[in-house]
C-alpha cells in the first residue's frame, strides 16, 4: 500500500542514494600502545560530496572504526580544535567540503606537522600554547581602572581587526617550515596574537611584547614563505602581521 507520503519518501531515498559518491579516506594512524610506527589506513565511504571532511571522520569513527581519534568541539569553524593536514594542506576538517578536494582520488588526512603526535590525528598542543602565553595575550594597562569601558575610535579598532580573528587552531604554526625544524621559534600564531595587542591603542605593554619578539627565536626567524597565510582558515593575513611587527621593531629602535 503506497500512500502519497510513502511515495515521496521512497523517491527521496532513491534520490539521496544517487547523490552519494564513494570516497576513499587515507588516514595516518598512530597508536603508541600498539606500535611505534604510524601507518596509512584506507576507509571507503559512500558519502554526499556536499558533506564536510569532519562528517566523514564521524562516519568512520561511529560506523567503521571506533578507535579513530581526533579532536573536534564546535564543528563549525570557531573552536579551532580540528585543524589537520588534508590532502597535504592544513585545514579545518569542519570547514572543508569533500567536493572541493577532488574526492575521485583518495583523500589523505594526517595530523598537523611540527608537534608531537599523541594518537592518530591528536597532537600535543602544549608547545604551541606556551609560545602563545609567552607573548602575554591579555590587555595590560597602568593607572586607575576607568569607570566606563575603554573607548576606542573605529580607525584604532580597524588597525588590528585582522588579527582578532585568530581561533588558535595551529594551522599556521604547523605549516611553517621554520617551526617544523626548530620548535623554539615562536611561530606565526603567537606573533599574530602579539600583533593584536601591540597595535591596540588601549594596551600599554606593546614595547614589552616587541622586546619579547625581538628574541633570537622571534620575528626575525620568519622567512616570509607565506605558508601561514595560505593555511589560515580564518583568512588572516598572517605574514603581513609578522612583517608589521618587524617594521614596528625597526621604526621604534631607529
Amino acid at each position: 500500500m503506497a500512500t502519497p507520503t510513502m511515495d515521496k519518501l521512497e523517491a527521496l531515498e532513491a534520490d539521496n542514494g544517487s547523490h552519494l559518491i564513494t570516497v576513499t579516506f587515507r588516514i595516518r594512524r598512530f597508536n603508541p600502545e600498539v606500535s611505534a610506527d604510524a601507518v596509512w589506513e584506507d576507509f571507503q565511504l559512500d558519502i554526499d560530496p556536499k558533506e564536510r571532511v569532519l562528517d566523514a571522520l564521524h562516519k568512520i569513527k561511529w560506523e567503521l572504526d571506533g578507535s579513530l581519534t581526533f579532536r573536534r568541539s564546535c564543528a563549525h569553524g570557531i573552536c579551532g580544535s580540528d585543524a589537520m593536514r588534508i590532502n597535504g594542506r592544513n585545514r579545518l576538517a569542519c570547514k572543508t567540503l569533500i567536493k572541493d578536494i577532488s574526492p575521485e582520488k583518495p583523500i589523505t588526512v594526517e595530523a598537523i606537522k611540527g608537534l608531537t603526535v599523541l594518537k592518530d590525528l591528536v597532537v600535543d598542543m602544549d608547545p604551541f600554547f606556551q609560545a602563545y602565553r609567552d607573548v602575554m595575550p591579555f590587555l595590560v594597562t597602568t593607572g586607575n581602572e576607568p569607570t566606563r569601558e575603554r573607548l576606542q575610535s573605529a580607525e584604532d579598532r580597524e588597525r588590528f581587526d585582522d588579527t582578532t580573528k585568530c581561533i588558535l587552531c595551529a594551522a599556521c604554526t604547523s605549516s611553517c617550515p621554520v617551526f617544523w625544524n626548530d620548535g623554539q621559534y615562536f611561530g606565526p600564531a603567537a606573533i599574530v596574537n602579539a600583533h593584536r595587542f601591540i597595535f591596540d591603542s588601549r594596551d600599554e605593554a606593546g614595547e614589552q611584547r616587541l622586546e619579547i619578539l625581538n628574541d633570537k627565536d622571534g620575528v626575525w626567524r620568519c622567512r616570509t614563505t607565506f605558508n601561514c597565510t595560505d593555511a589560515c582558515p580564518r583568512g588572516i593575513e598572517v605574514t603581513k602581521a609578522i612583517q608589521e611587527v618587524k617594521r614596528a621593531l625597526i621604526t621604534r629602535r631607529y
Partner: protein, 162 residues
C-alpha cells in the same frame, strides 16, 4: 593481545581495559611540559643583533644590486666584453681610488651578505648544537680569510710586479 605487556616493563603505558597501573599510592610519573621555563632553560637571547642582521641583509642587498650589476656590465659587456680583461685592464682600473673603493665595498658587502645568509641557513637546517658550531666556525673562518685577503690585495696591489 601481543601489545599487552606487563606493567613493570612499560610503566608509562597502562592497559586500556583491565587493572589500572596507577592509583593514589602509585601516581603516574610526572612528565614535564615542553617549552616550559625551568632552571635548565637557556637565558633569554634577546638583543638587537638579529634585528641588525635582518636590516643589514635588506640594505646591503639594495646596494649590491647596483654594485654587482655595474661590475658585470663593465667587465663583461661594455668595451669589447670579456676579452679585454687582463692584468693591464685590472691594473688600470685599480689605479683610480674610485674603482678601488667600489671593489672594496662590493667585497665586504657581498661577503657579509652571503655569510649572514648562510648563517641563517645553518640555523634553520642544522639540528644538533655541535653541527651548528662546526658549520658556523667553518663559515666564519672562510669569510674572515676571504675578506682579509681581498682587502690586502686591493690595498697592496702593485702594477709593476714582475
Amino acid at each position: 593481545m601481543s601489545a599487552d605487556t606487563t606493567p613493570a616493563k612499560t610503566p608509562g603505558v597502562g592497559p586500556v581495559e583491565g587493572v589500572a597501573v596507577y592509583d593514589v599510592d602509585h601516581p603516574a610519573p610526572f612528565i614535564e611540559a615542553p617549552r616550559k621555563r625551568t632552571s635548565k632553560t637557556p637565558r633569554s637571547t634577546r638583543g638587537n643583533f638579529e634585528m641588525a642582521a635582518w636590516l643589514f641583509m635588506r640594505l646591503s642587498g639594495v646596494v649590491l644590486v647596483v654594485l654587482v650589476l655595474g661590475h658585470l656590465l663593465i667587465q663583461l659587456v661594455l668595451d669589447g666584453g670579456v676579452s679585454k680583461i687582463g692584468f693591464a685592464f685590472v691594473a688600470g682600473r685599480w689605479a683610480s681610488p674610485f674603482w678601488q673603493g667600489w671593489d672594496l665595498l662590493m667585497l665586504w658587502l657581498a661577503m657579509l651578505h652571503g655569510a649572514n645568509g648562510l648563517r641563517t641557513v645553518i640555523n634553520d637546517y642544522a639540528e644538533r648544537p655541535n653541527t651548528r658550531l662546526w658549520l658556523k666556525g667553518l663559515l666564519y673562518t672562510a669569510t674572515v680569510f676571504t675578506i682579509l685577503l681581498g682587502t690586502l690585495v686591493i690595498f697592496t696591489f702593485d702594477p709593476n710586479i714582475r
